[in-house]
C-alpha cells in the first residue's frame, strides 16, 4: 500500500528504491545483503579452484533464499506475532521427533526425513526461538520481573539443550544467543546478567563433562593445534597460514597459494573466510567486516524504529544473531574460538543456513514495513 505522504517522503529516492519499498523490501538492508552475496560469489569462485559449477549452484540457492526473504517480508508483523507460540510448539515437537527418529548424518541426528524432503528442525529454531521470546516478553512489563525471566530462561534452554544433544553445538549456540538477545534487549537488569555470567562460568566444568568426545577434542585442539596435525588441528593450522600469509594487501584474487594448492580444507564452506583473507589481506577483511557491521547496524536501526515491543525485540535479536554468526565463524577460522560448524553468513557455500538467514531478513523487512504503514 502506498499513500501520498509516503511518496512525498521518499521522493528523493531512486525509482528502484521506491519499487523495492512497494514490495516491503528495505533498500538499504537489501543493498548490504546484495553486495555481501556478490563478494561471496567471487570468493567462492576462487575457493572452488576456478570452477563455475559451485558458483552456479550457489546462485540458484541464493535466488531461492532471496525469494524466501521476499515471501516472508510480505507476512505482516501481526501474523508473526499470532503464530509465534504455535511455531514454537511445533518446533519443540519436531525436535523431539528428530531425537527419537532422526537420520544420523555425520554421527549426529539433525535431519528429519519426511520422505519427500529432509529438513533440519533445529535450523528453524534460530528464528522461532527469538519470535517466541519476543512474543512472551513484549506483553509483560519491562524490564522483566523474576517470574518472566525464569519462564524466558526455560524457553531458551529447552530448544538449546535439545539441539545440543543432537549433537549440533554450532546451531545450539546460535539459538541460545538469539533467545538471550531478546531477554537482554527487553532490559534485564545488569546485576542479573552479572549473576548469570558468574553462574555460567561455574557451569563450565559440568558442561565439559557433558560434551561429546569430538567436541572436547575441538576445544583441546584450539589450545594446541599442533597436537593433532592431521585431524582437527589441520584445519586451524592451515587456515592460520592462509590468513597470515595474506598480509596487509593479500595475494590477489585467485592467487591464494594456500587455497589454490589444496592445503586448506573445507575452503568453500566454513573456512571460506581464510580464502578471502589470504587473497585480499587485512584491507579486504576490513572492508568485508565493515559491510557486515553496516548490515547489523541497519538491522538495529530498524529495530529501534519498530512500532511495538514485539517488533523491536525480534528485529534486534535477529540482527545481533547475525553478528554472532560472523564472530563465531571468523573467530574459529582465525583460531581464537573452537571449530564449531557455523558458516560465514551469506558467503559460505551451502543452502540450509542461507535460507534461514534470508527468512530472518525477511522478518526484519516485515517489521520495517509495519512501521511505515502505522506511521503514515
Amino acid at each position: 500500500m502506498l499513500n501520498k505522504t509516503q511518496v512525498f517522503e521518499v521522493n528523493y529516492d531512486s525509482h528502484l528504491a521506491r519499487a523495492l519499498r512497494v514490495i516491503n523490501i528495505d533498500p538499504v538492508l537489501f543493498l548490504g545483503i546484495f553486495l555481501l552475496s556478490g563478494i561471496g560469489m567471487g570468493i567462492l569462485y576462487s575457493a572452488g579452484d576456478g570452477s563455475i559449477e559451485l558458483v552456479q549452484k550457489q546462485v540458484v540457492r541464493m535466488s531461492l533464499a532471496f525469494l524466501v526473504m521476499l515471501v516472508v517480508a510480505q507476512i505482516s508483523q501481526r501474523q508473526l506475532y499470532f503464530w509465534a507460540p504455535w511455531f514454537f510448539a511445533l518446533g519443540i515437537i519436531l525436535l523431539m521427533l528428530v531425537l527419537a527418529a532422526g537420520d544420523v548424518g555425520k554421527g549426529a541426528q539433525r535431519w528429519l526425513d519426511l520422505y519427500v524432503v529432509k529438513f533440519q528442525p533445529s535450523e528453524m529454531m534460530k528464528l522461532i526461538t527469538p519470535m517466541m521470546l519476543a512474543w512472551y516478553l513484549s506483553e509483560r512489563p519491562m524490564p522483566p520481573g523474576a517470574k518472566s525471566l525464569l519462564i524466558s530462561a526455560i524457553l531458551v534452554v529447552l530448544p538449546t539443550v535439545m539441539i545440543a544433544s543432537q549433537p549440533d553445538l554450532g546451531t545450539a549456540i546460535l539459538v541460545a544467543a538469539a533467545g538471550f538477545f531478546v531477554i537482554f534487549l527487553a532490559g534485564v537488569r545488569w546485576r542479573v546478567l552479572v549473576a548469570a555470567a558468574v553462574a555460567g562460568l561455574a557451569f563450565i566444568p559440568v558442561l565439559w563433562r557433558l560434551m561429546h568426545d569430538y567436541q572436547k577434542q575441538r576445544v583441546l585442539t584450539l589450545l594446541n593445534p599442533e597436537s593433532d596435525p592431521l585431524g582437527s588441528g589441520y584445519h586451524i593450522i592451515q587456515s592460520k597460514i592462509a590468513i597470515g600469509s595474506g598480509g596487509l594487501y593479500g595475494k590477489g584474487w585467485l592467487n591464494g597459494t594456500q587455497s589454490q594448492l589444496d592445503f586448506l580444507p573445507e575452503r568453500h564452506t566454513d573456512f571460506i573466510f581464510a580464502v578471502f583473507a589470504e587473497e585480499f589481506g587485512m584491507m579486504g577483511a576490513i572492508v568485508l567486516l565493515s559491510l557486515y557491521v553496516f548490515i547489523i547496524l541497519r538491522g538495529l536501526y530498524i529495530a529501534s524504529k519498530a512500532q511495538d515491543s514485539f517488533g523491536r525485540l525480534l528485529a534486534g535479536s535477529l540482527s545481533l544473531t547475525f553478528f554472532v554468526y560472523l564472530f563465531v565463524n571468523v573467530g574459529m577460522v582465525s583460531g581464537i574460538l573452537p571449530v564449531v560448524g557455523v558458516p560465514l553468513p551469506l558467503v559460505s557455500y551451502g543452502g540450509t543456513s542461507m535460507v534461514t538467514l534470508m527468512a530472518g531478513f525477511g522478518m526484519l523487512m516485515s517489521i520495517n514495513s509495519n512501521r511505515r504503514l502505522l506511521s503514515r
Binding site: 506483553e139 519491562m142 590468513i243 596487509l248 523491536r312 564472530f327
Partner: protein, 627 residues
Amino acid sequence: MAYGTSIGDYSSDVRLFKRRAGVAALICLLMVAILLVRLAKLQIVEYAYFSDLSENNRVRLMALPPNRGLIYDRNGVILAENRPTFHLELIPEQVDDLEATLKGLSEIVSLSESNVSEFRDSLRTHRSFESISLRTRLDDVEVARLAVNRHRFPGMDISARLTRYYPQGESAVHAVGYVGRINEKEMEAINRGHYRGTSHIGKTGLEKFYEDELHGMVGHQNVEVNAEGRILKVVDKVAPVPGNDLFLSLDIELQKVAEAALGDNYGSVVAIEPQTGEVLAFASTPTYDPNLFVHGISFAKYKELQQAEGKPLFNRTLFGQYPPGSTLKPFVGLAGMESRKVSTDEKIKCKGHYLIPDDETERKYRDWKKTGHGMTDMDDAIEQSCDVYFYSLAYQMGIDTIHDFLAKFNFGQKTGIDLYGERRGLLPSRAWKRKVHKTKWYPGETLIAGIGQGYMLATPLQLASATATLANKGVNIQPHLLKSIRLTESGEMEVFEAKEKRFNLRSPSHWNDMFRAMKKVVHGVWGTARATGVGMEYKMASKTGTAQVFGIAQDEEYDEETVAKKLRDHGLFIAFAPYESPKIAVAVVVENGEHGSWMAPIARKVMDHYLLKKDKKISPAGQTNAE
C-alpha cells in the same frame, strides 16, 4: 490480550530498548575490533612467519598411511594379508613423445580406451612432474614385460601399493568379512585425520568389527615443496604404526571341512569349544570371494551376487532365523525336570496325537509318527523325538515357565559374538505376544513352542551357543571369533576375555540324565540318527530336528515328492562330543534339508576332523539314515 496493547509506559520502553540496542551495538563493534586485532596479529605481526611457511618454503604435510593388521586363524594360518599390487604410471615431463609411448605401451600391456582417456583427463589437472596412473592392477606377466622394456619408455614408472588379499578365497568369508573403498557415509563417521592416505576400511565381518585394532596409527611427514609443489626434501617424519594382528579362534581347516560337508546345500555349521566359547568353525553356504570387493566390485557383478540363488551374501549363521524344531527338546526336557513336571522314569502314552484336556475344538496335535511311540519316558522321547511327550510336558509347564528357562540358554537374546548385526531369534512369551500381536496367548501355541515350532526362532549361532552351554552344564561363555590380538607397538599378546554367565539346576544330576538321553540319538537302538553312529570312535550326545517351513492342515499329508524344494522342511542337528568330557559343540542347519537325521553326518565330519585330527571318509550327507 489483544495485539499491540503493550503494558507500561510506551516511551520509557522505547528508551530502555534504545539504550540496550546502543550497548549491544557497542559490544558488537568491540568484538569486531577483537577480530581485527587478531587478524592484525596474523597478517601484520606474524606475517613474515606465515608468509615464510606459505611462500618460500611451502611445507606440505603428507600422511603416511599405516599397514593394516593381518588376520590369522588359531594355528597361525593367514586369512587376510596385504599384498603389493602394481600400477603403471607416467610422469609427463619425463616422457619424450607421449603418443609414441602410449602406443608402445599398449603393445605390451592391455590398455583400454577408458584407461587412455582417463589418463588424458588427469593430464590436464595434474602438474607435469606428478605421476599419473595409466593402468591399475597389473598382473605378474605384465609387470615382467614392462620391467624388461623399461629402457624404451622414459618417464614410465611401476608403482607398488599394498592391498588387502584373502588367500583363503571363499572360505570363512562370513566370519572374516572384507574391506572396501571408504564411502561417503563412512567418511562422515570416522576420524578423517586417522584415515588420511587410507582408501579402504572394513566393511563386514571381523574386518569391520575390529576396524580400530586393524587400522593402525597414521603417520605424517612434513616435506618441503617449491613454489610449484615439487618435493624438495623431507623435513620431519612421524612413522605410521601398523595395525594390530588378529589371531582368531577359528580353525580354517575345520572351517573348510564344515563348508565341504555342507556341499551345495544352503545352510550353516557352527562349532564352538564349550569351555572357552571359542568359535572353531563359522560356516554359511553358499559363499563368495571377498577379493572381489577389495578393488570395487562392478555393479553388474554385485547385482548378480545379490540375486544369485541361495543368496551367498546372506550370513545365515548370524542373520538366519529358523524354527529350532526338535533340537529344542533337550532344553524343554530340562525345563520339565527343573519345574518338577516330570521325572526321567515317568512314562506317558503316545498314541500318535495329543488332545488338550477339556478343549472343545478337539484339535489333534499330531506326532510325526502317525502310529505313535507307545509308552514313552524322557530317554525315549529324546531318542525317538516323540512330539506327544513334549506337547504334554509343555502344556503342563505353560509358556512362561518354558520362556524363563530357555532364556538362561540365551534363546531370544544376542549371544554377544564379536560381529555386528547379530539377530536375536525369538523366544515367545505371554508378555511378548500381548505387546507385539496384541492378542492373548493360546494353549495350542504352548504345545507348538514345546517342539520348537510356531513363533520360536533361533539363529544357527544361538543353537550352537546353547548346545555349548548345555555341554558345559550351565556355564555360558560368550562365543567369540577373536582369540588374541598382537599389539604392534609392544609386541604383546592381548587375550580376548569372554564374558561368562552361569546358572545351576535344582539337581545337577538332571544334566547327566539329559546327556544320557541325547547319547541315544546316535548310539541308541531306536535313535533318530543311529546310522551316523556306525564306526564312531567317540560317543556323541545330540538331537535331530526338522522344522516345518509351512503348516500342514489338519488332515493333509506331507508328501515330499510333490512339495517344491524351497517349501521342504529345514533339517537341523545339534551335538556335542566326546560325551564324557565335551570338547566341541556343533549346530547344523540346512535349509530345505528335510530331515534332521540327514544333517548328522555333517556334524560328524566336523567332529571327526576336530577330535581325531584326520578327515575320515564317511558316507556323504544323504539318504542313508531314516528318522
